[in-house]
């Protein structure tokens, strides 16, 4: 488990990063926390002759909470998410989800930007960001652009990000209502067998808004608009839960792996979603 030889760069500004990306094209990759990329390089599943470390690049850190929303710098670590009290008040689902990622050692290194840019269907934050309707800011040779999280993922490890672009920040509209991040995994440090992110708004006894996204149940995260819609206007009773679950199960497309066969995953996805909705509803 030794990576192939690579050149290591540690630029101090974004211009330096972009020019390296332009110079080496496909042969270059940026590295954030390295906790997805390095294992792939060690297994020689990723060949990265030019590795560009983002740790010394300015402008990628910090969490800012304003009236318009929350801005999280790409290099903010999962531990920082957990430790930020203001963030936990403004968007508690972020902390609940981050606590279910890997273990403290990994979370000390792993970043929000790396987690959402990686494109691994097992990562928890892409689904979470789709649930929250986040926007990803990208910078490249042609300037800056924003891509909604819900449009970002194309296939496993394939995203809307161009090879010469860098993700700089994630912007999230201030979430409202109840929330839950529910994840079933085999052990600490494991990716999800099934996970659900739910954000739900209650008016009296009636659900007025609901957003649902699922993790590791397709080759991309699944934002299930239909599942959310099935709850809106209902009192989130059994029938509504069933309708939401059915809708979600129609959207996902899990494949068999060591966690289990397709039928199991679909079933568990339904159970996990029901529990997530129930918890979110109880908090709404």
């Amino acid at each position: 488990m030794i990576p192939a030889a690579f050149a290591y760069y540690r630029p101090t500004d974004m211009a330096g990063v972009i020019s390296l990306l332009q110079e080496h094209g496909d042969d270059a990759r940026v590295m954030a926390g390295g906790h997805s990329l390095i294992p792939m390089m060690k297994l020689r599943m990723a060949d990265v002759p030019h590795l560009i470390d983002l740790q010394a690049v300015g402008g990628l850190s910090g969490i800012a909470i304003g009236s318009g929303g929350i801005r999280i710098g790409a290099m903010v670590t999962q531990s920082e998410i957990i430790a930020d009290d203001a963030l936990s008040t403004a968007a508690p689902i972020l902390r609940e989800a981050a606590l279910q990622i890997a273990d403290p050692q990994v979370r000390n290194m792993g970043t929000v930007g790396g987690n959402v840019a990686n494109g691994d269907p097992g990562n928890d934050m892409p689904g979470l960001m789709q649930c929250l309707d986040a926007t990803f800011s990208l910078i490249g040779p042609d300037g800056v652009r924003d891509v909604p999280a819900r449009d970002f993922y194309e296939a496993a490890y394939m995203t809307a990000r161009g090879d010469e672009e860098v993700l700089t920040a994630v912007t999230i509209p201030l979430p409202a209502g109840g929330y839950a991040y529910e994840k079933q995994k085999r052990k600490i440090g494991d990716y999800a067998t099934a996970a659900a992110a739910v954000q739900i708004v209650k008016d009296g006894d009636i659900c007025t808004a609901a957003s649902i996204a699922m993790t590791n149940l397709s080759d991309t995260p699944i934002f299930s608009e239909a599942a959310g819609a099935a709850l809106i206007g209902t009192s989130v009773d059994d029938a509504a839960l069933q309708a939401a679950t059915d809708a979600m199960q129609g959207d996902i497309d899990p494949s068999e792996d060591n966690r289990g066969p397709v039928a199991f995953k679909k079933h568990v996805a339904g159970v996990i979603l029901r529990r997530a909705i129930a918890r979110a509803w109880s908090r709404a």
Binding site: M1, A5, D103, K187, F264, V268
Partner: protein, 808 residues
Amino acid sequence: MKDEVTREERIDNLKGMGCSRKRVEDARFTQGKGNYVDDIKLDGMLFGDFVRTPYAHARIVSINTEEAMKVPGVLAVLTAADLEPLGLHWMPTLAGDKQMVLADGKVLFQGQEVAFVVAEDRYAAADGIELVEVEYEELPVIVDPFEALQSDVVLREDLVGDGGTLPDGAHGPRKHHNHIFTWEAGDKDPTAEVIAEADVVAEESMYYHRTHPCPLETCGCVASMDKVNGKLTLWGTFQAPHAIRTVVSLISGIEEHNIRVISPDIGGGFGNKVGAYPGYVCSVVASIVTGKPVKWIEDRMDNLMTTAFARDYHMTGKIAATKEGKITALQCHVTADHGGFDACADPTKFPAGFMNICTGSYDIPTAYLEVDGVYTNKAPGGVSYRCSFRVTEAVYFIERMIEVLAIELNMDAAELRRINFIKKEQFPYKAALGWEYDSGDYHTAWDKALKAVDYDGLRAEQAQRVADFKAGKTRSLMGIGLSFFTEIVGAGPVKNCDILGLGMFDSCEIRIHPTGSAIARLGTISQGQGHATTFAQILASEIGLPADSITIEEGDTDTAPYGLGTYGSRSTPVAGAATAMAGRKIRAKAQMIAAYLLEVHDNDVEFDVDRFVVKGAPEQFKTMKEIAFAAYNQAIPGIEPGLEAVSYYDPPNMTYPFGAYVCVMDIDVDTGVPDIRRFYALDDCGTRINPMIIEGQVHGGLTEALAVSLGQEIAYDDMGNVKTGTLMDFFLPTAWEVPNYETDHTVTPSPHHPIGAKGVGESPHVGGVPCFSNAVQDAFRPFGNRHTNMPHDHWRIWKTAHDLGLHD
């Protein structure tokens, strides 16, 4: 010496047997000052690593090393063709088979060693490996032993004679070209007759899946051939350093006195580090060829995919009983998947280990066991994994059969066990399959365990839970896992236990220093068991010097006496006995010296804690410290100077630790997630040397048992690809997954062991696996479950619930 301390204080000062002395090893390990194989760095040391086949069964068409040799730092690439002139392209296995060191014309399992790249550092070696071009011609892959026994595909052409004849294997005639051996114990026809006429017969097939010991430290070695003096030094992760020395001598032709094998600190073994691996041979050859030290260290994937696995037993059983539940007969057939080579590490006469302990803790008058070993396209191995030679398989088998019989009889499984236990007064007990159990008191242990957990209360709670579930009030079921196990450890009596002809005695050599401290060396080697702590305690009690003044040394064949190493919980039963016996020789000489110093007859002094006293006049005494000084520095007529002893101990019998375990588990029917609410473990390992270390061993073994029963496996797909080759998929529990264990004990000393100790390292694994498994199965018993196979990971538990209609 002024005698102001009380006798109690003198006993405490020794920190002898029965004391929870803190582990002397820990100061080193907790400060990162351990010295493992990979910590060894020698001048000019090279690094070797393997090109491994991605295919499970293929012919090697060609190997081209040209590009690899161009990598800066790569010095050599060895293939079978290079080893052949030395006769080292194959090597003997501990099971009487032979194994390719480097692929000789074909490969038999994914990850098999094809070429050995030797480079200046491990990075260059890794780059060299990428550039060795191997052309393979794929062959049909067989991963199922039942298919193997039917298939025309010949896995081992080297074991087929001219015209397709099948020469006998190491363990007798073979039935098919993919068959290795048949091994039998007990009485075939009488067993069949009792079963045919029995009131009740329960039948079940079960698969004990393939798994892996996965020690924290992987396997590795450093070989250093000194061409000037002709001496080979080999450091390695060896659980049996002397056996390795002998094997290396036999296969290399280097005289044994010119080989020094050293096991430094070892980061866990659990059976994985007993056998000999191609890496050892290649490192030795590479060192001889280059004249430089060569290091080889596996990475995690190498370790999981290619070094000795455990289990992989397909077991079918019949158990017969009277209507009242008295067991009358047991029959067991095993199809054992050994992979591409038979590289088990069992005593020669026991190709299926001690599987014939499968009558368990029960008085079963008639029994028959038959085991067929089979070759497949999987990695070789078949080691014990914290279990003495297939005892885990045996105990799992009988503890599942008991549960199935309880279902058949509609009886409580605890009660069924109780009425069938071997009774205290029946020991020594001759079991139907050949073993003589030395001692036991099963009823006492069982009653204590059931009382401790309030068994009746648990059953009542479980019944309520079932009612609630049926009424739709809960989606959680409760399982009560029971297990009562009898271990067989301490291999073993030389008359029936040897490995490759090496008798399984063990040894201890003691030197007392003039100032009253000592060093003792043993033929065993600790891999985390705390030998330096416990063996000093045995000696402290035997010779009356404080444990803190006794150094224990193991693992260097130039200094330690010959021994067969540490596995199968044999260290305390065998080397521990040797230690006590050597201590007694010291004491015998000390007695003569004391008598001389006290000017009385030898028989007029007696040993008392840390001294010899004149009988009837305890104020007249000589401490062991004083005696030690006199032994070296005073001319004593008729007595040689010095105070040393050595003992080689050939145990008269195995020892038979036992225990009673109970697990309480809640199971989420909808997700298949189990939650271990309680785990109670009562162990009887005879005399308890260090209760704290025993408890630590129990915690570790139970955690392994939890892993194996709830998810840990080496799984293959149909193409022979390992699906669980990294720790992402191979389940190693963390503190998070592990429950709080409650430990307890009874003490039934071994009657034939000098200090009555029996060994405990493996008991929790052996007894734990069926306990966890039975808990899962018991939760579903009220809904018609009889048996489901391990590992009980989420999806398999879910499937059990699903198949029983619990999701409808």
